[in-house]
């Protein structure tokens, strides 16, 4: 028996978790489409059901924390394979809701395997990368890791649920921590910027900006190389990069018009302000902003929160739950939620960094990345900065699968962290 045998569960993480779950439940309660609230445990109502899901989530936490800590690393591969099978099984046994086959129907309940697959993938990535002699610098290993991440994505996209698939981009942060170059992210950001930029401003401006940026970069690297007595940078590299960027920009409007589906185009158009249609395709975002605006500094009491009570924001108890927070709790409440998420992610990163065990660290970064992506995409959509992408806000959006998926994801890490002193290879 060593020093670390007694598990020490991180109190901050648990407090933030509790805080978000409680605020989430209250927002769902506010947004319930009823004139008068009945019993809190009314199973006809979303808030009653959510209370049940929360109870079950607490039960899950107990189980997760009770399981032997080594279980997660040892069985990561198996868990991953079960997750993949459950995703494949959807093609045969899946239940269609709102046009997407993402659920299993179990009696009156539904279960969404993609919510659990994130956790399984995080475990698998951590497990594979933490093996000795595995390195991202090795192309074969890189391909395998990429495969582990892409496989569930490819199974989720055709459900169709591109939003949930998008979340897997979160693993970049874990991989980056383990040595993946920042160029991958930069390339993605540049590609996105050029794509959106060429939709909003004239192609000539894009060309001008590309040329200016590349010229600046060339000059700077020449100076730097000169100081460090390195050979001059090759100007042809910059010229080719410029041509590629310009060609890509030119083709982006073609991609936009011909490759993307109508609803995607609409969502992008609304956010970029290319189209104003508050009654049609922009209705959701517009109503969401109105509900937020009505909140003011401290929010409106339930009887005055007219937008939330009137059911103006579609999906307000699920993906748009943050708009209910904004109206009922105001700027202060909404800011608190954002701060909570920031603190949660900071805390997870700090915890990941203190792991002696590489598996736990990689898994921790995976968790932080997944929470960040959900936070970034969901709230960005609700406040009208990003296009509508249907993914939930962790711990707050209504739904059993989501809540459990995120709870498992987080508490496996809490468990790993609790045993960090004794837990070693």
């Amino acid at each position: 028996m060593g020093i670390g045998d007694k598990p020490r569960y991180d109190p901050w993480t648990i407090l933030i978790y509790m805080g978000l779950v409680v605020m989430g439940w209250f927002s769902i309660y506010s947004a319930a489409p009823v004139v008068e609230h009945g019993s809190l445990l009314d199973m006809e109502m979303v808030y009653g059901k959510q209370l049940l899901w929360i109870g079950m989530a607490l039960f899950l936490i107990v189980i997760i924390l009770a399981i032997e800590v080594k279980f997660y690393e040892r069985f990561a591969g198996l868990i991953y394979i079960i997750a993949l099978i459950s995703l494949i099984g959807l093609f045969v046994f899946g239940k269609e809701i709102n046009g997407a086959v993402s659920w299993y129907g179990i009696g009156p309940m539904t279960l969404q395997p993609s919510e659990f697959a994130k956790c399984a993938t995080a475990l698998a990535v951590a497990k594979y990368l933490s093996q000795l002699n595995v390195s991202l610098k090795n192309p074969k290993d890189f391909m395998i890791v990429a495969g582990i991440i892409l496989l569930p994505m490819l199974l989720i996209i055709p459900q169709p649920d591109p939003g949930s698939a998008l979340v897997y981009a979160a693993f970049f942060f874990a991989l980056h921590r383990e040595g993946l170059s920042l160029w991958y992210l930069s390339l993605g950001v540049i590609a996105l910027a050029l794509f959106l930029g060429s939709l909003v401003i004239s192609i000539w401006w894009i060309f001008l900006i590309v040329v200016a940026v590349l010229a600046l970069m060339y000059t700077l690297s020449r100076k730097r190389n000169h100081k460090k007595r390195l050979p001059k940078p090759n100007p042809y590299v910059y010229i080719i990069a410029g041509i590629v960027c310009m060609g890509y920009s030119l083709s982006s409007s073609y991609i936009f018009e011909n490759v993307l589906k109508d609803r995607h185009r609409n969502r992008i158009n609304i956010v970029l302000g290319r189209v104003e249609d508050d009654a049609g395709i922009g209705y959701n975002i517009n109503q969401s902003e109105i509900a937020l605006g009505n909140g003011g500094w401290t929010g409106k009491s339930l009887s005055e929160a007219t937008q939330t009570r009137g059911g103006y924001v579609p999906e307000q108890h699920t993906d748009f739950v943050f708009s209910a927070v904004g109206e009922v709790s105001g700027f202060l409440g909404a800011t608190l939620v954002i701060v909570f998420f920031m603190l949660l992610i900071y805390r997870i990163i700090i915890m990941a960094e203190r792991q002696r065990n590489q598996f736990a660290r990689i898994y921790g970064y995976g968790v932080a990345g997944i929470f960040f992506l959900h936070f970034f995409v969901n709230i960005g959509m609700v406040i009208g900065l990003l296009p509508t992408v249907g993914i939930p806000l962790p711990f707050m959006s209504y739904g059993g699968s989501g809540l459990w998926g995120f709870t498992i994801l987080l508490f496996i890490f809490v468990k790993l962290d609790a045993h960090r002193m004794s837990y070693d290879h």
Partner: protein
């Protein structure tokens, strides 16, 4: 670096999002307004519009209930178009156009689809309309006319147009507001203030509960009942006499300035501007460019006044001391002032002094008096200015300031007027037509009536007005109780009034005397021209008459203008006499005059310029005799359409 990337990005995103929240929740007031628009359903309550009573308390205009079919496009769900069209009794295209209009105006605010359904038309709708979300019924108070005359002075109410909504945010699409006449002039008093009840509603548009416990509700304020100075009996009688004629009548009570009667012809029944056909009828009236029923001739027709204007020149002459009451002037079938043509006159005894000069309406007499007035000045312009000062003191040549929304200023020239029009030095004879109320002088019937009232009062007038009391309380507006004095001294009026009395006793109007009433008057026969296909053509003279009575205690002063009625006593003096008799005695003894007017139409005169043929004017025989039964025929709206 690799440890910090996610920390950095999380911080950046968090700060951007908090900034965005600050913008949305704190800075952006617009969103709060939108939130209220979203969630608050405002149901307006229209107060009853004020009634209009005549001077004797007779109800002229009341209200009736009507039902508007309204739409809020945002709340419309799919519906059976055919069934709705059947219920509303309209064509499908009409409905789609109305819906498109409503959407164009606002998705969230109500617009009118079908206005002013009667109780009968509304009954079948009542039950079924609930099947059509987004459509609903709004009760509306509409005008009910208790009289079939005075349309033009009462005015009408109509749905406000876009311009009015933008100008005054009290109004919304579909609201009714006075569009002309008294309804327009006293719109704010009559309409009251509409109230509203606010409800919280959900996204289906269903009212959930009173908004903020009803603390934001506003009770409507009832409209003010108006008592106007008109006498419905006199009004009705005057309109009856004006059938088949064109022109205007204004009768004023001299000692108060109250307008007893204000009639224009042709006219129409005010109630045709209500109900489903009102648009058709209003358009018919507005578009009739020949008979101009939309023009209130009593206020808006600017004619040369003709001979009634001579009495003013007599008064100015006396005031300026250029003529005495006894001085006689020669008349040689006119006055030769050195022009190419002399100013003609009809056959009468000569020479004449003032009293007879007025009674016989001698052109020569007034030409010479006028010339002396103008030539009294050092220059013609100076003399003209003096003359102008006296004439305009009778309320001529400018807006009178009465409380009706339309009018024209008329024209009384001054020295500058002629200086501007003439390159060379000019002299009185150039303007000699002003002496007899032709030439550059122009007046409206109400100005002539007011001028007559000033003479009746021997030197002052009150601003003519139509309002008498509000909610039964007499008005006390200094605007209508302040005497406006003319520049003529009181003693100069008596000889002129004697002359006007002589017009009745022995002069141009001796055929229309009314037993027992001392009337003072002045006939007029006004030359007038019109343009047909760019050619100026002279038409039959207008028949004009001004009068007041009784001579010593004037109770009524009036001006009657009958277009193309030839000479003053053929039509205008007859009508004036009958109205005076009606007002003072309450009954008619001169049934021969009444009979003449009821059996004679001037439509044949009005048809002449449009016949396309050569026509004679100023025919000695009145060819307007019509069958007695037809004489009481009122033009109906379809008639006006022709």
């Amino acid at each position: 670096m690799k440890k910090l990337l996610l920390l950095f990005i999380v911080t950046l995103v968090g700060c951007i999002y908090i900034g965005r929240l600050f913008y949305l929740q704190i800075l952006s007031d617009d969103l709060k307004v939108q939130a209220e628009n979203n969630a608050v359903k405002t149901v307006y309550e229209y107060p009853e519009r004020g009634f209009i009573y005549d001077r004797n308390g007779e109800l002229m205009v009341a209200n009736q209930v009507a039902y508007d079919v309204m739409i809020i496009p945002n709340e419309v769900k799919e519906f059976d178009t055919l069934q709705l069209c059947q219920l509303l009794q309209i064509k499908k295209e009409h409905l789609s156009k109305k819906i498109a209009d409503a959407k164009h105006w606002s998705w969230r605010k109500p617009s009118v689809v079908i206005p002013q359904l009667t109780q009968l038309e509304y009954a079948p709708l009542q039950e079924k309309l609930r099947k059509f979300p987004g459509f609903y019924i709004q009760r509306r108070s509409l005008r009910k006319y208790m009289v079939d005359h005075s349309a033009s002075v009462l005015g009408y109410i109509r749905e406000v147009n876009q311009a009015k909504i933008e100008q005054d945010d009290y109004y919304q699409l579909g609201d009714l507001a006075g569009k002309s006449g008294i309804e327009l002039q006293y719109e704010e008093e009559l309409r009251g203030e509409k109230g509203y009840k606010k409800y919280t509603r959900d996204h289906f548009g269903r009212a959930i509960k009173p908004y903020k416990e009803g603390s934001q509700n506003l009770d409507p304020v009832a409209g003010t009942d108006l008592t106007v100075t008109l006498d419905t009996e006199l009004q009705a009688y005057a309109e009856q006499l004006m059938v088949n004629k064109r022109g205007g009548i204004v009768a004023i009570q001299p000692k108060t300035g109250e307008i007893l009667s204000l009639v224009t012809a042709p006219n129409y029944d005010p109630s045709i501007l209500m109900g489903r056909d009102r648009s058709k009828n209003i358009n018919a009236i507005i578009r009739d460019s020949v008979r101009l029923p939309n023009v209130n001739r009593a206020l808006q027709a600017q004619y040369s006044p003709g001979s009634p204007f001579k009495v003013i020149n007599a008064l100015v002459g006396l005031q300026e001391g250029v003529v005495s009451t006894s001085e006689r002037f020669r008349c040689n079938h006119g006055y030769d002032y050195g022009g190419r043509k002399k100013l003609g006159c009809h056959a009468h005894a000569s020479p004449l002094a003032m009293e007879k000069g007025i009674a016989e309406s001698c052109n020569s007499y007034f030409a010479q008096v006028y010339r002396r007035i103008i030539e009294k000045g050092d220059t013609s312009a100076e003399g003209m200015d003096t003359w102008n000062k006296h004439v305009t003191s009778f309320g001529l040549g400018n807006f009178l300031g009465y409380d009706l929304p339309v009018g024209l200023p008329g024209r009384i020239p001054d020295g500058d007027y002629y200086n501007a029009r003439t390159k060379y030095k000019w002299y009185a004879p150039m303007t000699i037509s002003n002496a007899i109320g032709q030439g550059e002088v122009a007046t409206t019937p109400i100005q002539l009536a007011n001028m007559t009232a000033a003479i009746a009062n021997r030197g002052y007038y009150y601003t003519p007005h139509i309002i008498k009391a509000m909610n039964g309380k007499p008005i006390n507006d200094p605007k209508y109780t302040e005497k406006h004095f003319t520049t003529i001294d009181p003693q100069h009026f008596e000889p002129v009034i004697e002359g006007m009395n002589e017009v009745y006793n022995s002069g141009t109007a001796k055929w229309v005397q009314v037993p027992g009433i001392e009337i003072c008057g002045k006939t007029g026969t006004v030359e007038n021209k019109t343009k047909i296909d760019g050619k100026t053509v002279q038409l039959t003279d207008h028949s004009v008459f001004i009068a007041f009575a009784p001579k010593d205690d004037p109770q009524i002063a009036l001006a009657v203008f009958i277009e193309n009625g030839y000479w003053g006593s053929r039509y205008a003096a007859k009508i004036a006499s009958l109205l005076i008799e009606k007002h003072i005695k309450g009954e008619i003894t001169r049934t021969d005059l009444e009979n003449y007017l009821m059996t004679h139409s001037l439509e044949y005169e009005y048809a002449k310029p449009y016949s396309g043929k050569e026509f004679k004017i100023n025919e000695a025989i009145d060819n307007g005799l019509i069958k007695p039964g037809d004489s009481l025929h009122r033009p109906d709206p379809n008639d006006i359409l022709k």
